[in-house]
Symmetry: C2
């Protein structure tokens, strides 16, 4: 059994976006207006216009987070080849590998591994911009209310639920972020509530 | 940016095991003695001896699960190349991509994406044997108490915490399975508590 995951080669411009975030949906513009940090906002806008690698938003700190802030990612359309390649490496079960055999299963047809949906979600979040110190989760709850199918276009909608300064370490805090990964029909394929590390802006 | 994930090619026998599970550790033998289903046990033993693809244990049903049952997976040694390849595709942050740049971060050196650890955990669980209908999680809690490092040898230790028949569907139930992914020093790199679908044995 020899497989490789051809991720980028299959769609090298997968994370490039045709339109700036802020103009694509009215709701996005609202989300950005809610963002206290102009530099982050500008970085994310620039990112949205023409990028294929994530941008480190080194001026985005714990201090800049507010409960209720919302973020919307770019999108990725998942292919059948990607689903099968990821599954062959990490989750080799019939319903992730073979459309014919998938029909007689709970999924009723080829579906992506939940861990594949989670990995794509992470990529879409990272591509939105990496905060100072990194986008680092210490733990999360994740559920997959419906399958991700070949051809689905995924997008991640995140909201800051809680921000808590660390009691023991002055330089950081935690943020609880809820992220929904939705397909092109606005159906939720993954719900993720993650506890993230967030670093405070260093004092001059 | 062009990357591909060379998973199998880097280590084509990564999931082959030199020894049967039941003889490798005394604790494993205990776990198997706790397993009520002889066919599953035999399948898993056969699997352990010589396999490179997962085996469907179609005689392993909801009916065979018991609270307290334990399972131990085979192992996988993760390489630096695997860590970087997964990260390039799904989690392109400096501490997952570049050892030098990783040193100044929270991780203090190159570390695998948590989603990579999760994906390897899934693969190790699938390779242990797929129950009838598949190894299907509807949701889970996951945490990463310490990083997975290049060269770490990972192994998964699972225990059945709860089994609950479905109220609405006669043919299935759910099982809550807690799985610890440990490195070669027996340190826990991931804790996973997953709610799984389990199908009942069809009535003749």
């Amino acid at each position: 059994m020899t497989t490789s995951i051809g991720w980028e080669p299959q769609n090298p411009r997968m994370f490039a976006r045709a339109l700036p975030y802020a103009t694509r949906h009215a709701s996005t513009a609202v989300a950005f207006r809610g963002c206290a940090c102009a530099a982050v906002r500008d970085n994310l806008r620039a990112t949205a216009i023409a990028m294929e690698a994530p941008v480190a938003t080194d001026d985005y700190y714990f201090d800049d987070l507010r409960v209720g802030m919302r973020f919307e990612s770019g999108s990725h359309t998942i292919t059948e080849a990607e689903i099968k390649a990821f599954a062959a490496a990490f989750d080799p079960q019939p319903f992730h590998l073979d459309d014919e055999r998938a029909r007689g299963t709970l999924f009723g047809g080829l579906a992506a591994s939940g861990w594949h949906t989670a990995a794509i979600t992470m990529r879409l979040m990272v591509d939105l911009g990496i905060p100072a110190g990194g986008l680092i989760g210490t733990g999360c709850e994740v559920s997959w209310p419906r399958p991700t199918r070949p051809g689905d276009t995924l997008r991640v909608f995140s909201e800051v639920l809680e921000i808590t300064p660390s009691r023991s370490r002055n330089d950081r805090g935690t943020a609880v972020i809820r992220s929904e990964t939705r397909n092109q029909n606005d159906e939720v394929v993954q719900q993720l509530t993650a506890k993230m590390v967030a670093f405070k802006r260093p004092r001059a």
